[in-house]
């Protein structure tokens, strides 16, 4: 994929683009976008993939005034305009799913089909119990066990990374905290707006996901007018990373003309 920087909505936005076909906006999780992940090649083989790094992630700038997910949703509506697209398909992972859901409530007519992968963004349970475990209050090892079906495979090894890569990883985490700290991992209003997202939607969950539970995903799906649930085995919170083939199958079978 090609990376470029687009000045848009006050942000210097890093955007990866590649592939041809039906336009597909890919919105990454809190871990950021890595074009080297195997699932990406699978996507660009069938779609024109546009994958921005959210403000504060990757090499995208973070203006002072941006501090929530909604800000980013507006930005990506600008991006769709700038790309000259009437409608796009959207895939959003985790917090990227939350961003996608916000976009879908603002201009549902701009999204043809929507995939949310282990999405956060709504609060569906009781006040005295978190819907999403507090990843900022747990040791890294425990968080990894929630994130991955096979955490041993995905443990970060700083010695294998450049300073730049490490800096990006650290900054991604900081930006994730900025956006999701309070209310934690959700916008209290979103559940009252999801009825507007009338496009066909699928919610994908890795079967071992410790962050987004099956019950949470079902309640999320029930808020959407036209949503189905797809479960990917042997995967955690990032099925696109742990099971790229199964993930891409799910995408290809849903994001069709």
């Amino acid at each position: 994929m090609q990376a470029k920087t687009i000045a848009i909505g006050g942000v210097d936005l890093e955007v990866f683009e590649g592939g041809t076909g039906r336009p597909l906006l890919f919105l990454h999780s809190g871990q950021g976008f890595d074009p080297a992940h195997p699932f990406v090649a699978g996507l660009t083989a069938g779609y024109r993939v546009v994958a921005p790094s959210h403000p504060g992630f990757g090499k995208s700038s973070l203006p002072d005034w941006i501090d929530n997910v909604d800000d980013i949703a507006y930005l990506y509506l600008d991006l769709i305009d700038q790309l000259g697209l009437d409608t796009v398909d959207v895939i959003g992972c985790s917090i990227g799913g939350w961003i996608a859901a916000e976009i879908a409530t603002k201009s549902p007519e701009r999204i043809a089909r929507l995939t949310l992968v282990g999405p956060v963004g709504v609060k569906t349970g009781p006040a005295n119990k978190l819907d999403v475990p507090d990843i900022f209050a747990k040791p890294l090892e425990e968080v990894n066990a929630l994130l991955f079906h096979d955490p041993d495979k995905f443990r970060m090894d700083p010695s294998a990374l450049t300073d730049e890569q490490l800096s990006i990883a650290v900054r991604n985490r900081e930006s994730l905290a900025l956006l999701s700290w309070e209310p934690y991992m959700h916008n209290p209003k979103l559940k009252h707006r999801l009825h507007r997202a009338t496009m066909p939607s699928q919610l994908i969950r890795g079967e071992s996901d410790g962050v987004v539970s099956q019950a949470y995903l079902e309640r999320y799906a029930a808020l959407l007018p036209d949503a189905r649930i797809v479960t990917i085995p042997e995967a955690g919170h990032a099925p696109q990373v742990e099971q790229p083939d199964r993930f891409n199958d799910a995408i290809r079978s849903f994001h069709t003309v």
Binding site: D64, W65, L140, P158, S167, W181
Partner: protein, 428 residues
């Protein structure tokens, strides 16, 4: 030279350290016995009052969800001390502004204490240590920005006397600010800020507030003070920086003999060693800047954490964050530090911690107050100008705190992680 007695009002009666992952944030409060806790409050308050009797000033602070400092509302303890004490200055260092959501309430609280104490308040403001983010549910990102906006609102609230004023800012909104009571001191109590970074110190200097640093040893303290003085001068506040604008917090214990002093000092090391904190609370995302976090991922460790593992009184003295010994020895240790960093007007004495018992604490206070303090007051007068390095020791002393200026990345890190009080130094 003014000396301040400081205790964190800790609750030391805990299970063995290997039975809990963190002394802060998550340690269940079932481990706190309120009857024992009440007795500790009695005792710590007595010790402040004894310090006052001995001519020292009083300093306290605020932390949350921790056994190391059972004072989750510093202004309350300050209010109690405002009435129980009669002459000491009362320093809170400090109000964790980035974690308090109503800056005008902080202004009201401080004004009320200023009146309750008839103008004895010294109002310290801090960003808040990393472990306080979860207890306050405060976003760890952009704390500095929140801190300074809150500070400006507080000063505005203190200095507006002609009816309501408004603030529509980035983090705070408040129409119709018109606090009752107004402050006793005019225009307002002295403002203190604690900082561990040069960037922060420069900003504090530019405003003329009093700058405190905690356990920062030799080189780092000097570097912070230099930045303060630079900020002061660049802001046009004049060439001479008054010595009373700088403060240093050290662990201090004075004994009749070196052995007695070292025994007390040993117990005071609890300040540094009893701080087992789960890593996710030590370093929440956004608290320190990206380059510092990269260093941490590469295995860097805070020098105080290194130190804590093999803590000894000798090493702490050598590193400049402890002064312990006979009166003569403490005097020499103080003078050496004072001269090296360019001088300061306030010695914040961490004089009680952990299992240092009441009689030991009182002995330390009295020995300092009677045998050391008079010499310091005489030989380091408040009329001194800070930063005259006529007699810098030729060889820089050993220092556990590296001078970040020697390393660009570390410097950036230190600069942005400013206004970190004791906690960060102890745990980061």
């Amino acid at each position: 030279m003014r000396a301040w007695h400081f205790t964190e009002t800790a609750y030391p009666y805990l299970p063995p350290e290997d039975e809990y992952p963190s002394i802060r944030v998550t340690l269940p409060n079932k481990h706190y016995d309120p009857v024992k806790g009440a007795a500790l409050y009695d005792r710590y308050i007595d010790e402040w009052l004894i310090a006052e009797d001995e001519g020292l000033e009083i300093m306290l602070n605020e932390h949350h969800q921790t056994a190391t400092c059972v004072d989750p509302a510093g202004p309350l303890m300050l209010a109690a001390m405002a009435r129980q004490s009669t002459k000491a200055r009362l320093l809170i260092l400090g109000n964790p502004l980035a974690n308090r959501r109503q800056p005008v309430r902080v202004a009201e609280e401080m004004a009320m204490i200023d009146v309750l104490s008839k103008g004895r308040l010294e109002a310290g403001m801090v960003r808040g240590v990393p472990y306080e983010l979860s207890p306050a549910n405060s976003n760890p990102v952009r704390m500095n920005e929140r801190f300074w906006e809150a500070m400006d609102m507080i000063v505005t609230a203190w200095t507006s006397h002609d009816g309501p004023v408004s603030h529509e800012g980035r983090f705070f909104h408040h129409r119709n600010i018109n606090i009752w009571p107004r402050c006793y001191q005019d225009p307002h109590p002295p403002i203190w800020v604690s900082t561990t970074s040069t960037g922060g110190a420069k900003q504090v200097g530019g405003r003329g507030y009093t700058q405190a640093t905690f356990l920062t040893g030799f080189k780092e303290t000097r570097r912070i003070y230099e930045s303060y003085r630079q900020g002061w001068r660049e802001a046009g506040l004049g060439n001479d920086v008054p010595i009373d604008r700088l403060a240093y917090a050290a662990i201090v214990y004075v004994g009749d003999t070196e052995a007695e002093a070292y025994a007390g000092a040993e117990k005071l090391l609890w300040y540094v060693t009893a701080n087992k904190v789960a890593p996710q609370f030590v370093n929440p995302p956004g608290y320190v800047p990206v380059p510092a976090n990269v260093q941490i991922l590469r295995g860097a460790e805070h020098p105080l954490s290194q130190f804590a593992r093999g803590a000894s009184v000798e090493a702490a003295i050598e590193a400049g964050f402890m002064m312990a010994g006979t009166p003569d020895q403490v005097y020499e240790q103080f003078k050496r530090h004072y001269d090296y960093v360019g001088g300061y007007g306030h010695l914040l004495i961490m004089g009680q911690a952990g299992f240092l018992e009441h009689d030991e604490t009182v002995r330390g206070i009295r020995n300092f107050a009677r045998e050391v303090y008079p010499r310091l007051q005489e030989e380091f007068p408040d009329t001194t100008v800070s930063g005259n390095f006529g007699d810098v020791p030729p060889e820089p002393p050993r220092d556990f705190i590296p001078a970040p200026g020697e390393d660009h990345v570390a410097q950036e890190a230190g600069d942005a992680a400013n206004m970190t009080p004791l906690g960060a130094a102890r745990g980061a």
